[in-house]
């Protein structure tokens, strides 16, 4: 494990942390590559890891009846698999759309680091809060179905 600290530069979640903290975080991270068409994790899998996308694209899909429905595409800089920070399994399936490079963390290890260093914890959680709020907002817009047929006269 451990990656070059420079890799953290592209991840907004770690912006604002001090060099020592960043070095500690870098020691927890692992750089992984995933080929287009592969699956990062499946809905329902136990969730132990979180990912930050360095490059490439990931799609998130959920099963509806017998079919998988794509609900979101993630791009470089974004996090995926945040269920790895929570005590439940994967809520969506993450498929690699274009060859991707990711930073992988053990969810518990990242949580422990945040617990031990509240400065880091605050930065990470604050970023995640912003990220999730944005996703919630976008989801609301998707739910509005603004492109659907207008209400009938």
């Amino acid at each position: 494990m451990s990656v070059d600290v420079a890799l953290l530069e592209g991840i907004p979640a770690f912006h604002g942390t001090n060099p020592t903290t960043r070095a500690a975080v870098a020691r927890l991270a692992e750089r992984v590559e995933a080929k287009a068409g592969s699956v990062l994790f499946h809905e329902g899998d136990p969730a132990t890891e979180v990912y930050f996308l360095l490059s490439g694209r990931i799609s998130l899909g959920m099963r509806v009846a017998q079919r998988e429905l794509l609900v979101l595409t993630l791009h470089a800089g974004e996090m995926t698999g945040w269920s790895g920070l929570l005590p439940h399994g994967r809520v969506a399936t993450a498929r690699v759309l274009d060859d991707a490079a990711l930073l992988r963390f053990d969810g518990q290890a990242l949580l422990d680091a945040c617990e031990a260093d509240h400065e880091l914890g605050y930065r990470v959680m604050r970023h995640l809060f912003g990220d999730l709020a944005r996703r919630l907002h976008d989801t609301r817009l998707q739910l509005m179905d603004v492109f659907g047929p207008a209400r009938k006269a």
Partner: protein, 658 residues
């Protein structure tokens, strides 16, 4: 030069007017009010009568008169109806449409009833109101052909106001008490004598038939004194200086809610107002649906239908509607037509059943400094100058043939319409498509077929658009236009151009995208960010794939099956994928909420609002900027838009109730 004649010679004036015109319309006393009606003789004038007015009150009584003075001929103030109804009738059949056995449609204009008309006894405020309507109906890019025919043959005989009514405030709106520009003749009643002044050659011709003498210096001085006294004695006023800005800076003033508590949304104020010009059209079919007729009617902005588009009413509450009426009359009007829309006639005060007084409301609203607002200030546009040679607009569709129907998605088709008359249409402009008996829809042109035919991409939502969507090749359709402003393609040269479209918003942009791709457009770099509900709802899918040769294309949908290789998520999520140069050009079209988030995202990234263009939509009923339905604050969308730079529309786009 001012001439004079004795009261006993008044019949000469009537005779001269009757000789010059087919009919003489003048004041009469009917049903307890002063009503303008066709005069069979001067005996019908309301001699000695005066209408007493107060908020919510109108009563006909005797005119006061000084000792030894005869009862005044023009002693009244004004009745509920004005010159407007003779020049711009409350109801008028525009055309009939006939569906022939071979399926083709014939449209025939109903000839305009335009007898030459002398309007006698028009008050200064109503002379001003006629001119205000001229500005809208005659002097824009499109002139209403029917109004033009009647106006051309109208002779205005105005009367000076020497004793204003209780509700008058024309001095403060700049419309009286002395009749201004627009009158052909001006009469002033001084007891036993009348002074008369011809202001136009037509007025001169009438005057020359009368036995008059030169008015004495004493008489003209008496008139001047009387006018000055009248001006000074008006009990009401509106301070119109800077009023549009003041009102639009106070759209959240609590007074709007207070007046909305009292207002019944009855629309009386708009039906008596001599300047209100909004109209609706009603289509009626006969039983076997082979012929139908379209009638135009006055419509109040207090009605639920006024702004409704696709079943959505942008102004659902009385507050929204009262605020719309008042901010338009005294604010938006200035931006649209270069002057206030109020003449100070006081009618809306007298005829409001609950006595709401426009002068009081304005005072209350502008009394205090504008509160800080979380909304951007609304920029006022400068009214375009009068157009010297407006196109005469008949509002009459022409028949066009649908040569082909291309199914784009489940509920969207593209009609290929052979309409040589519309050949000049440019990307962003729209046409009115109609089916007899069903109605009309404003549809943006989505490009041109290789043969030059116009493409119209339509989603069936309401009864009209559903019927249009269901048309087959070979069918006939009614077409009017092109109308509206186009995308500013010429600004694209040398720039990075980003097009953001969502849903059917791609249709009005397709022509622009095609134009931006040709090398002659000189675009530095082109990017297309396109959103749809699902892959199946994306129109022009094949063409979009071909665009990848000339542009960076990013597609996103709200939901997709597992095989969708592009993006899923809202269109704004695509913005971080590209650079957003501030000096770039940005064009966006789609649902209003989408355009708002896109534009705000661009602004947040440092793009000036002036570099972002959006295409707005309101109730585009006539298309030509004549019916008042597409009001949007200071803009008339059919005339000033639908394409606007974002700085012009941001403030209202973010607001409810407009």
């Amino acid at each position: 030069m001012i001439r004079a004649f004795e009261r006993a010679r008044l019949p000469e004036l009537y005779a001269a007017l009757s000789a010059a015109c087919d009919r003489v319309i003048g004041p009469t006393a009917r049903d307890g009010a002063i009503v303008l009606a066709e005069l069979a003789s001067l005996d019908e004038l309301p001699v000695g009568l005066r209408d007493q007015q107060a908020p919510g009150r109108y009563r006909l009584g005797e005119a006061k008169r000084a000792e030894g003075e005869p009862p005044p001929v023009f002693g009244y103030v004004n009745g509920p109806r004005s010159a407007k109804e003779w020049l711009f009738p409350s109801q008028e059949k525009l055309y009939t449409a006939e569906r022939r056995p071979d399926g083709r449609i014939g449209f025939s204009a109903v000839p305009t009833h335009a007898p030459s008309t002398a309007l006698l006894g028009v008050r200064a405020c109503d002379v001003a109101s006629v001119r205000k309507q001229d500005r809208i109906l005659l002097e824009g890019q499109h002139a209403d052909a029917r109004y033009a025919a009647r106006r051309e043959r109208a002779l205005l005989v105005a009367v000076s106001c020497l004793e204003p009514g209780e509700l008058c405030f024309c001095a403060s709106t700049g419309s009286g008490p002395k009749p201004g520009e627009g009158a052909d003749l001006v009469l002033s009643e001084l007891g036993e004598r009348f002074l008369i002044e011809a202001r136009t050659p037509e007025g001169e011709a009438v005057l020359s038939r009368l036995t008059t003498r030169e008015a004495s210096e004493e008489e003209t001085a008496e008139l001047e004194r009387g006018l000055a006294l009248a001006e000074a004695s008006m009990g009401r006023s509106i301070d119109i200086a800077g009023l549009p800005e003041k009102l639009y800076a106070r759209l959240d003033h609590p007074r709007w809610a207070e007046v909305a508590e009292r207002c019944l949304s009855c629309g009386n104020c708009t039906s008596v107002c001599p300047t209100c010009f909004c109209t609706d059209v009603v289509d009626e079919s006969d039983l076997d649906a082979t012929t139908s007729a379209r009638t135009r009617e006055w419509l109040s902005c207090f009605s639920a239908d006024h702004g409704k588009v696709h079943g959505f009413d942008p102004r659902p509450h009385t507050l929204d509607r009262y605020r719309q009426w008042l901010t338009h009359k005294l604010g938006g009007w200035v931006a649209q037509f270069g002057e206030t829309g109020c003449t100070g006639c006081g009618r809306c005060i007298a005829w409001c059943p609950v006595g709401i007084d426009i002068t009081e409301e304005v005072k209350a609203i502008v009394a205090e400094p504008a509160p800080a607002s979380r909304h951007a200030p609304l920029p006022m546009q400068v009214a375009p100058p009068p157009v010297a040679q407006p196109a005469l607009e008949q509002l009459l569709p022409r028949e066009a043939r649908v040569v082909e129907v291309v199914r784009e998605t489940d509920d969207v088709v593209t009609l290929v319409v052979d309409d040589p008359e519309g050949a000049g249409i440019e990307p962003g402009q729209f046409q009115m498509l109609s089916l007899p008996g069903l109605g009309e829809s404003a549809i943006s042109c989505s490009g041109r077929a290789p043969g030059g035919e116009l493409l119209h991409t339509v989603r069936g939502v309401g009864p009209t658009s559903r019927a249009i969507e269901a048309l087959a090749a070979g069918a006939s359709i009614g077409v009017r236009g092109p109308y509206g402003k186009r995308w500013p393609i010429e600004l694209a040269r040398g720039r990075v151009v980003t097009v953001v479209a969502g849903g059917l918003g791609i249709a009005p942009l397709r022509g622009a995208i095609r134009a931006l791709m040709v090398p002659a457009a000189g675009v530095h770099e082109l990017r297309l960010l396109l959103g749809a509900r699902s892959p199946e709802d994306l129109p022009f899918a094949e063409e979009i794939e071909a665009w990848r040769e000339h542009a960076r294309v990013e597609l996103t949908v709200d939901r997709a099956g597992p095989d969708w290789p592009h993006h899923v998520g809202v269109v704004t999520r695509l913005l971080p994928l590209i650079t957003l140069p501030p000096e770039g050009l940005y064009l966006s079209c789609g649902p209003e909420v989408m355009m708002r988030f896109v534009a705000n995202g661009l602004v947040a990234a440092g793009v000036p609002r002036e570099h972002v263009y959006v295409s707005t939509e309101r109730h585009m009923k006539c298309g030509a900027g004549l019916c008042g339905r597409c009001q949007h604050g200071p803009s008339i969308i059919c005339r000033d838009g639908p394409v606007f730079s974002y700085d012009r529309v941001e403030a209202l786009m973010a607001r409810e109730g407009f």
